[in-house]
């Protein structure tokens, strides 16, 4: 079992290297061999990570080169599979597999580099989840980063992808270097890079300025990847222009990995040393709530099918951060389930958008209005996934959101529930409006967005002209993803199992003992007690409520022009949104300015409250 840990990263890297080296051998005639090999590799890696998730027990630790810790001092480099970390990596593997199956017929002409980059991306994500070494966390951050930047700019002959990739690469690299500076500082203080060792060295001392500064630097770098306000600008640009199957991974796995990094670093290194749980919790909660609301408002204004989904990713990243920020086992468990549910339905939505692009040659909601009637199956899957995104039971999303709300409520934060419901309604409403208009021709076409005309002309070349039918290999992946989202939501005892994994994740002492002493810790204990995980009427009610609210909002936004009262009332208000949109300027220097400002504000807030 333990040897699977390095293999999950090494196998995709080796196959990627082999594919690039043998690129001349793969011609159009034997495309099936290339795609088959890549799909098999991704599926095999997913299976390995699944086995680690289920069989990890307390946790599996692998030391490279056999450099085990001597007398509790770790000099070697380790991979650690705990149920949450291996589970997230396995989920990323599943999405890569689905995206690769979809890509088979989506790209008629594609070089081996696409497949190689996807596999390197997978290796980077798996390594990021599994590593127990904080410097390797930075290295895998950049490994998955470089693959992702290159995949964004896969169509290098076009303007949009180039600009999106430049913005993505520059902002994320600045974030990575800030993290690295924090890592160097914490190494200077503790002389250790192993996260458990750092945690042990920091614990028991009063947190001084250096520890706070390094925590802030590391966390801000990771929050850039997690697209949290005010570091979120790159997400909309990158996800608007990257090929649809690649967007599945950006939205469903990569952004979430940034949040996983924050959780990993907090609960293995800084948690017990920093103390001041209240201050850290409120700072992160405020960031999460701001991200959820800002993302949802921008989402609703979009007319570009992929940008709608991109801003929904930002909004959901904020909701996940709120779950993590509660610092309770149930909050973290809710966030984990929400990540899986969201990744599955959002993946289906991006793939359906890819099918629209393939068959109808446009991504403009206004132009497409009613033209999607030719794609009844895609339309049905899109609407279903949209309802799942609005947290309709039994999609797994309602359970994840319900747990976050319960945990917030029982800790005296009922406003968390309000924020989550409002953002779910806005985001779900935007997606359902697009789906209802495009696939069913409901209501009136939304007003034309002048900016769309320039952008839309470029989208054609993402995929080649579709022939009369959508290939089965393109319809099946979104169908399977939506079905899985329902299946996960119906799993019995899911809540208690995931909460047990969350307790283990938050128990710094158990992590230390497992990594440094090789102990098997049977009873993990989180700083906050676990909470009941029974499915309550409130969970179902808020889920149904936000889905119904989203459906109503979608219908109102499709039909409002037919009601004179609304027309007179709403038309002037829409003009106010213009100035806000200017912040999303597309200029990377602005984005980096926001990063510096955000760093100063978050650093100032935490430094004042912790000292």
């Amino acid at each position: 079992m333990r040897t699977l840990l390095p293999l999950a990263v090494a196998v995709p890297l080796l196959v990627a290297a082999g594919l690039s080296a043998a690129s001349a051998a793969f011609q159009r005639r034997n495309r099936w061999a290339l795609d088959g090999l890549a799909i098999l590799t991704a599926a095999a890696v997913t299976a390995m990570l699944m086995a680690l998730t289920v069989g990890a027990g307390s946790a599996q630790v692998y030391w490279f080169g056999g450099f085990r810790p001597a007398h509790g001092v770790a000099l070697g480099i380790d991979f650690v599979a705990s149920p949450l970390s291996a589970g997230l990596a396995a989920f990323a593997g599943l999405l890569v597999t689905a995206a690769m199956v979809f890509s088979w017929r989506y790209f008629e002409r594609v070089s081996t580099f696409y497949h190689a980059l996807m596999l390197v991306f997978l290796a980077g994500m798996a390594g990021f989840c599994l590593t127990g070494d904080v410097f390797d966390l930075f290295v895998f951050f950049e490994v998955m980063g470089v693959a992702a930047y290159a995949l964004t700019a896969y169509r290098t002959e076009e303007r949009g992808p180039l600009q999106g990739a430049l913005n993505f690469a520059i902002t994320n690299s600045v974030g990575a270097y800030l993290s690295l500076a924090g890592i160097a500082l914490v190494y200077g203080r503790t002389g250790a890079l192993n996260m458990a060792q750092v945690g042990r060295a920091l614990a028991g001392h009063r947190p001084d300025g250096l520890v706070v500064v390094s925590f802030v630097l590391i966390v801000v770098g990771l929050l850039v990847k997690a697209s949290i306000v005010p570091f979120h600008f790159w997400t909309a640009d990158a996800e608007a222009v990257a090929p649809s199957p690649v967007c599945v991974l950006f939205s469903g796995a990569m952004v979430e990995l940034g949040l996983y990094g924050v959780a990993r670093v907090y609960w293995s290194m800084f948690g017990s040393a920093l103390g001041h749980r209240g201050a850290i919790s409120s700072t992160l909660l405020a960031l999460g709530a701001a991200t959820a609301v800002v993302g949802a408002l921008f989402c609703f204004r979009q007319r570009h099918l992929k940008r709608i989904l991109a801003f929904s990713t930002i909004s959901h990243a904020g909701m996940f951060l709120m779950g993590v920020a509660l610092l309770t086992p149930l909050g973290l468990a809710g966030a984990a389930i929400y990540v899986v549910g969201h990744g599955l339905v959002k993946g289906a939505l991006f793939l359906c958008t890819g099918i629209v692009l393939h068959r109808l040659r446009s991504i403009n909601e206004t132009w497409l209005h009613g033209r999607g009637r030719r794609l009844p199956v895609t339309g049905a899957v899109y609407i279903l996934a949209g309802l799942g995104l609005a947290d309709l039971p039994p999609f797994a999303t309602y359970l994840g959101k319900g747990y976050i709300e319960e945990s917030g409520y029982s800790h005296g934060m009922a406003w968390v529930t309000a924020v989550l419901i409002i953002t779910s309604i806005l985001v779900g409403g935007a997606v359902l409006r697009a789906g209802g208009g495009v696939f069913w021709g409901l209501g009136d076409a939304p007003s034309e967005d002048p900016r769309m005309a320039a952008e839309a002309s470029e989208e054609h070349s993402e995929t080649e002209e579709g022939r009369g039918r959508t290939p089965l290999s393109m319809v099946l992946p979104p169908l399977v993803l939506v079905a899985l989202a329902v299946a996960v939501g119906l799993l019995p005892h899911l809540g208690s199992v995931v909460q047990a994994a969350a307790v283990r994740f938050q128990d710094q002492g158990a992590y230390n003992a497992t990594v440094l002493s090789g102990a098997r810790v049977l009873h993990a204990q989180a700083p906050q007690p676990p909470e009941p995980t029974g499915i309550t009427i409130a969970d179902v009610a808020t889920g149904v409520g936000s889905a119904a609210g989203a459906a109503v909002l979608a219908l109102v936004s499709l039909y409002w022009r037919r009601l004179p009262l609304l027309r007179r009332g709403l038309e002037p208000g829409l003009g106010l949104v213009g100035p806000i949109r200017r912040f999303q300027s597309g200029v990377v220097t602005d984005y980096v300015t926001w990063i510096v400002l955000g760093l100063a504000v978050i650093g100032g807030a935490l430094a004042l409250s912790i000292r």
């Binding site: 290295v139 700019a153 949009g160 600009q163 430049l166 520059i170 270097y177 160097a184 640009d237 900016r451």
Partner: protein, 114 residues
């Protein structure tokens, strides 16, 4: 550990970030990104430095000789490799951007907005 290297680190980081934030040319911006990263090299080496200690090669000196920390040097080297990969990719994107947009001013890349 002295305070001096950390002042240098903060200075390089601030200069690099200022350069990125005010940049009007993509190549200049990418070099500034490399400057930001250089601050981490200095930080890493500064963290592992010991006054009067030898380089960490023990082939011709006794093993008990005090030496500077070799780990940070390995980290700085890895850091350089990462930087090479990122800069190469970014410069390639800049070349393409120049071909397609006819400009390298980030403020004139106006394909994505709102």
């Amino acid at each position: 550990m002295q305070i001096f290297p950390f002042i240098v680190v903060a200075w390089i980081l601030a200069v690099g970030l200022y350069g990125i934030v005010t940049s009007r040319h993509l190549v200049h911006l990418i070099i500034c990104l490399a400057v930001v990263q250089s601050s981490t090299y200095v930080l890493l080496l500064g963290v592992g430095y010991k006054a009067g200690a030898a380089a960490p090669f023990f082939s011709d000196i006794p093993r008990s000789t005090p030496a500077v920390d070799p780990v940070v040097q390995a980290l700085a080297l890895t850091d350089v490799v990462v930087e090479a990969a990122v800069s190469a990719l970014l410069l390639a994107l800049a070349v393409q951007a120049h071909k397609r947009f006819g400009t390298l001013d980030p403020e004139d890349l106006r394909q994505l907005q709102g």
